[in-house]
């Protein structure tokens, strides 16, 4: 994670605009609060949305790396949630997988449409769902390999006792049908609101605008 954080910091230094600063602060606070909404699912487990797909679409995936990582840091240091020993893995899943999968899925679906186009809303929704669900699959994988890589000399698991056949389906099920749906709703609603009311906040707004203009060839111009 360390090179990723380093690069994300450099990206912010180069790209963050003055106007975006309050939104960056808002994004970090939002990440923290949204993760406090534990949603119960059948079977007695709970989980939550993360909000990093939304931050990635509005402020850029590298900005989401930073805001989500620091929110996770505060969670584990101050509130004993998520864990210190698992901090790197948590950051990889929630602060890297979600933003990048979310943003590039959105970008792929949105294509060269205008910022207010319906395809962008659909893209943000699908990106949010895929981002969180894939992140959950990654977490399930990381847990499931524990009984393979971390066992005592007598073969008893040192940490996670369940294998991949249990952890991956458990994580994917809870997310795909529940938590990712919450992620979809907040992402699509907030994206639509920002895109319709003040798209200049969006980090790559200029590029989106330029790409969505009817093509004027150099010869005609």
């Amino acid at each position: 994670m360390i090179p990723i954080w380093y690069w994300a910091g450099r990206w912010l230094r180069t790209n963050l605009r003055t106007k975006q600063v309050p939104y960056l602060a808002l994004a970090a606070a939002f990440s923290f609060v949204i993760m406090m909404f534990n949603v119960p699912i059948p079977g007695g487990s709970t989980g939550h949305a993360v909000g990093s797909a939304l931050v990635a679409i509005i402020l850029g995936p590298w900005a989401a790396v930073v805001t989500t990582s620091v929110a996770l840091l505060i969670q584990c240091l101050l509130f004993g949630d998520g864990g210190i020993t698992t901090f790197g893995a948590n950051c990889f899943n929630m602060a890297v997988v979600i933003p990048f999968v979310g943003f590039y899925t959105y970008k792929f679906i949105a294509g060269k449409t205008k910022i207010t186009d319906r395809r962008r809303i659909i893209g943000s929704a699908v990106g949010a769902w895929l981002g969180l669900t894939l992140a959950a699959a990654c977490a399930g994988f990381e847990m499931g390999i524990q009984p393979i890589i971390n066992v005592s000399s007598t073969g008893v698991p040192l940490y996670m006792p369940y294998g991949l056949d249990v952890t991956v389906p458990a994580m994917v099920f809870g997310h795909a049908f529940f938590f990712s749906i919450v992620e979809v709703i907040i992402t699509a609603v907030a994206f639509t609101y920002i895109a319709r009311n003040d798209p200049t906040i969006i980090w790559n707004y200029k590029a989106i605008e330029a790409a969505s203009q009817p093509r004027v060839t150099a010869a005609a111009a």
């Binding site: 003055t18 600063v21 606070a29 923290f32 487990s45 996670m160 006792p161």
Partner: protein, 108 residues
């Protein structure tokens, strides 16, 4: 203040106001079980976790909900945790962001 920023702040305020909804669910997130829960789930505490116990003690464990047993008391603790988290993260990123964005007026 810009209208969009103001409205987003109001939304964040509403989220914070609703935050006690997050403690109604009593289960533990998958894989985040405590050693006691593991004991009852699988009948033993994996040695690696047993060794890690006490490695770090957070100043406000469980988001300030474990000082009270009533829902109201737990909600108050949870509110305090939400406010602390929002102020800390919002403040931190506002200050750092201002430094990073220095001199980069809006060119978007």
């Amino acid at each position: 203040m810009e209208k969009v920023l103001r409205n987003l702040l109001i939304w964040l305020g509403i989220l914070v106001a609703l935050v006690p909804l997050g403690i109604i669910a009593s289960g533990t997130a998958y894989g985040e079980w405590s050693v006691d829960e593991l004991q009852s789930l699988i009948g033993y505490v994996p040695a690696g976790y047993a060794n890690l116990q006490g490695l770090y003690n957070a100043p406000i464990p469980d988001y300030g909900t474990d000082w009270a047993s009533s829902f109201l008391g737990q909600s108050l603790g949870y509110y305090a945790a939400a406010v602390i988290g929002v102020c800390l993260l919002g403040g931190l990123f506002y200050l750092i962001g201002r430094q990073l964005a220095k001199g980069k007026e809006d060119t978007a």
